[in-house]
């Protein structure tokens, strides 16, 4: 970039960082008009894209040659947003017809953004029915950058089973630095001159000692490429200003949080090095609040580091104050923190008096002569490497059980660094005496400390992602109980967030535990009322529970909030479907499809509505569309099965239900349906087996028992059927169907009095239904005997309500007596 462009570019980025898109666009347009470089083109396109006008960015980039990877990536992104998948694919990988680039080519071409490029490419492949290639791309993307969640999510959704443990780990520093933006590449390429620049900020610390340290570290780089990262830490961490402790922690946290921000690339002049400038893209953090990426705030290495220059000692390799490490957050890798802190504490301990000082910096290194540094640093380096190695080993094993500890610590230690924390950490450090003995932490440079902290934070995030990944994977494979279990073990500050609770709610929904699901979802609504993802499941839960008021409130709120989300329109459609206004429900579901044609659930719900309005052809088309969008959408397979069942094409129905079951094997409702269909196909033995399986999976499902009873009844096993039905009567005493079936059994057994009793009960329980079937059942009773049964029946059982009720009343008393006798 030329000198001419720099201020303008800086101004544009500043505008973008402040979401002032009109300003950014205007300036970018002027810049591009002035300098027709690809850089300026990219900047202008970025402004357009960020202001929400992907089509502008698309047309702009199409109209000019794009050779730089960033332009290509942005153009591909616009293509995908505008549903021009083939074009997007062509840009990224050479297209379907030309010679395709391999993943390695893409990696070399796109460098840092290869992970995003591959993720985008994976998305394109999955949408164009090339799931294998898509899954390859996602895997590669994740291996390049384990911080990305969406490729993992997509892999789970297409039915792959990525291993969270393998995916979410920082395998090497190479990866670590690749994940982070430009500035982090400085970590790797420690030789470049430009990276020396940040070190000039270390005004207090002699440049040569630092460099010497670095060189030492670099020289012993065999196991430990971390040392190269020190330069990164320097710039961020060290500022000439004395920073109060509170902000000090935030500084480091900011630094850590800064990882994903491109603002870091502005890390050029000293001004940019102030940790508090927006160029870092840092959000000030007062407390170690959960949910930040920067759990390192607890690592008060920074403040100590920062204060080092202020104290003026030339050899300020300040040691991280363990005190702060007491306030561990979840993210802080247990192994890491424990192993790091002891090292650090050792130093504090060594410089005894200093530990008792305020949790400001303690710089034991002040005592050590400067020229001893290089030696120490090399030793430090070795010890450090060993500790980091230990860390990495211990990481996976140790972390999960430590989460609760972390949580409590961070809770109690909220608010920053205080004296007690030091005590805490000191205690902890005593545990790892072995490491302490190794560590000559006195030479632990701030760079390395800070970098360790960064790494620790990243490891912490990885651990969290592993757990969440396991939970999500279990949910996508419909191991709902497992998923609930895993996700419930997340620390409470993560558990009580919209995403996690929605997944748990969905898990309960898939288990047909609608009450639980409703409880969870209402909690989501309470804490995150701006969340729409997952609300369609909530609306269906309310539909099942027939809570029309709650459903109508939900749908109104969602449609008011976001008219462009398919979830809102699905909720609205469910609301009207519950009110039996099927035409309006159909309208809303169609609107949901219009808003997002790639949203499978809208098609499924529309299909169900068409089934309810008996338009089975349209329903078939809808379900097929849903499957086209998402082949693993088992609800749509179920819908198809239902239609075929209605049309009495039982083998087709069975096939489709079985497909649904293959996707979701723990659904008792599906098993129940399969059982009934098998019975219809005269495979009664199999039907009973299936129903037994269903009851084992979910003993709370009354319909399984009911259908088992009906199959037994059809097979003339009246006694067992009766037994089943009696049990069912206890579970659901108000269900008219149960009495209806009992009545039929008694009728077959010839006990007409009991049959009549049960039929009348059934009718009582279903007043508005005026179920013809029940009436028929009673009618038929008389048919063989009487030629004119109907009129008689009509008189007795028919329109005269008072008669009927009085008769049933009279019967009731007799019935109860009879029942006690009979049973």
């Amino acid at each position: 970039m030329t000198v001419l462009q720099e201020p303008v570019q800086a101004a544009i980025w500043q505008a973008l960082n402040h979401y002032a898109y009109r300003d950014a666009v205007f300036l970018a347009e002027r810049l591009y008009a002035e300098v027709h470089s690809e850089e300026a083109l990219f900047l202008l396109a970025t402004c357009y894209y960020r202001s929400g006008k992907a089509y502008k960015a698309y047309r702009l980039l199409k109209g000019h040659s794009c050779t730089t990877p960033q332009c290509k990536y942005l153009l591909a992104k616009c293509c995908v947003d505008l549903s021009k998948l083939a074009e997007g694919e062509q840009i990224l990988s050479g297209g379907v017809f030309n010679k395709q680039k391999s993943h390695d080519d893409i990696v070399t071409e796109f460098g840092d953004s290869a992970c995003f490029t591959l993720s985008l490419l994976g998305h394109v492949y999955c949408k164009t029915d090339r799931l294998a290639k898509g899954s390859e791309c996602y895997q590669k993307s994740l291996s390049l950058n384990p911080f990305l969640w969406s490729p993992f999510e997509s892999l789970c959704e297409i039915g792959e089973k990525p291993d969270p443990d393998q995916t979410f780990k920082l395998t090497s520093i190479q990866n670590f630095s690749n994940c982070l933006p430009n500035s982090c590449t400085t970590l790797v390429s420690n030789h470049s001159l430009s990276h020396r620049q940040p070190e000039t900020v270390l005004t207090e610390t002699p440049q040569d000692t630092i460099e010497l340290n670095r060189l030492n570290l670099e020289s012993s780089n065999s196991k430990y490429s971390l040392n190269t990262d020190s330069s990164y830490i320097d710039s961020a961490v060290i500022s000439p200003d004395t920073v109060p402790l509170g902000t000090g922690t935030s500084i480091l946290s900011k630094q850590v949080q800064n990882k994903p921000k491109t603002g870091r690339s502005l890390l050029g002049g000293p001004a940019a090095l102030s940790p508090l400038t927006p160029s870092f893209g840092i959000l000030p953090l007062e407390t170690p609040s959960p949910g930040d990426g920067s759990y390192l705030q607890n690592y008060t290495n920074t403040p100590s580091v920062i204060d080092v220059p202020s104290t003026g000692a030339p050899t300020k390799k300040s040691v991280a104050r363990i005190g702060q490490t007491g306030t561990k957050s979840v993210f802080s890798q247990s192994g890491n923190s424990r192993e790091v802190t002891p090292i650090l504490v050792a130093q504090t301990q060594s410089s005894g008096p200093q530990t008792s000082t305020t949790p400001q910096v303690l710089s034991p290194t002040i005592t050590s002569p400067p020229n001893a540094l290089p030696r120490r640093s090399s030793r430090l380096f070795t010890s450090d490497s060993s500790t980091t190695k230990e860390n990495s080993k211990k990481l996976k094993m140790k972390f999960p059980p430590k989460i609760p500890n972390r949580k409590t610590k961070s809770k109690t230690n909220k608010g920053g660094i205080t004296q007690p924390n030091i005590n805490d950490s000191l205690e902890i450090t005593k545990l790892d005496s072995s490491i302490i003995s190794e560590g000559k932490i006195s030479t632990f440079t701030p760079q390395i400390q800070a970098f360790n902290l960064q790494k620790a934070a990243a490891e912490g995030l990885m651990s969290l992602l592993r757990e969440m990944g396991k939970g999500y994977l279990a949910l996508c494979s419909y191991n709902c109980k497992e998923a609930i279990n895993i996700l419930s073990h997340l620390p409470s500050h993560h558990y009580n967030t919209g995403w996690v609770l929605c997944q748990i709610g969905r898990a309960y929904f898939e288990l047909s535990e609608y009450m639980q699901a409703e409880r969870i979802f209402s909690e989501v609504r309470r804490i995150e009322n701006y969340r729409v993802e997952g609300m369609e499941i909530y609306s269906t839960t309310l539909w099942h529970l027939q809570k029309d008021v709650a459903l109508s409130v939900l749908s109104k709120d969602l449609t008011d909030m976001d008219k462009n989300s398919p979830e809102a329109w699905c909720a609205a459609g469910n609301c009207f479907s519950l009110q039996r206004e099927h035409d309006i429900a159909i309208k809303f579901f169609q609107r949901a499809i219009q808003v997002d044609p790639n949203y499978a659930y809208a098609y499924t719900l529309l299909g169900h509505e068409f089934v309810l309005t008996e338009e089975l052809d349209k329903a078939l088309a809808c379900f097929r569309n849903a499957i086209r969008v998402n082949p693993r959408h088992y609800n749509a397979w179920y819908g198809l099965g239902m239609i075929y069942y209605k049309q009495e094409k039982f083998s087709l129905a069975e096939m489709h239900f079985q497909k649904a079951l293959d996707i979701n094997p723990q659904s008792s409702v599906l098993l129940c349906h399969i059982g009934v269909v098998q019975h219809a196909l005269k495979k009664s033995e199999k039907a009973l087996d299936t129903l037994n399986k269903a009851i084992v999976i979910d003993p709370k499902n009354p319909l399984c028992k009911f259908h088992r009873a009906s199959v037994l009844f059809a097979n003339e096993k009246y006694k067992s059927a009766l037994q089943e039905l009696e049990e069912l009567k206890q579970i659901v005493p108000k269900e008219s169907l149960v009495y209806f079936l009992i009545g039929k059994v008694y009728k077959k057994l010839g006990q007409t009095h009991l049959a009549l009793m049960n039929f009348s009960w059934a009718m009582d329980l279903d007043p508005k239904g005026a179920n013809n079937q029940i009436k028929e059942a009673i009618d038929k009773r008389y048919l063989p005997d009487d030629e004119e049964p109907i009129t008689q029946e009509e008189q007795i059982m028919g329109t005269d309500e008072s008669q009927e009720s009085s008769m049933t009343d009279a019967d009731d008393t007799q019935l109860h007596a009879a029942e006690s006798d009979e049973f």
Binding site: S512, Y514, T540, W543, H544, L545, Q546, Q579, R580, E581, H582, D583, T604, L605, H608, L612, T613, E614, E615, Y634, N635, Y638, M642, Y645, A660, S667, S668, V669, L670, C672, H673, V676, N701, P702, L703, C704, F706, H707, S710, I731, V732, K734, E735, S736, L737, F740, L741, L765, D766, K768, G769, A770, N771, N772, Q773, I774, I790, E794
Partner: protein, 197 residues
Amino acid sequence: MTTPNKTPPGADPKQLERTGTVREIGSQAVWSLSSCKPEPGIGFRTLHLPGFGVDQLRDDNLETYWQSDGSQPHLVNIQFRRKTTVKTLCIYADYKSDESYTPSKISVRVGNNFHNLQEIRQLELVEPSGWIHVPLTDNHKKPTRTFMIQIAVLANHQNGRDTHMRQIKIYTPVEESSIGKFPRCTTIDFMMYRSIR
């Protein structure tokens, strides 16, 4: 209803819909009329004001109505694409607003086509003031299965020539048995597990 008492108004059909036992299927049929008053207009130019035809008969709006424009009997023909079970017919008539245009004698015929119609019900209205529910049952007290329904207005109040009809709804019974040949379940506990949505 041959008594001199006025025909009492029936319940709003919406309530009937909410019970879930019936479903309005007029939208699945083709409606035609024997005659209707044209849209207001002057020569070739129409004023784009609503007319008095099928749309007004099916618009869920009790203010708009169909006005016939020919000789009696005035006919409303409802033709389905396939043989449909029909349970109830609901007609809205209001003597106070329509006076001599209010129908007084209505005949309901069903059949396969125009040449095949048979009357299944005839009703007399005396100063109706709301919804009239007409059950369409056959000889065996079951809902009729038919391709076509014809509603014929044979006579109006005060011997009026033309007739107004404000709204007609036709209902079919809902077989909500989602699985198995069983009637509907009544408790939420059963209904929750009945289907996957």
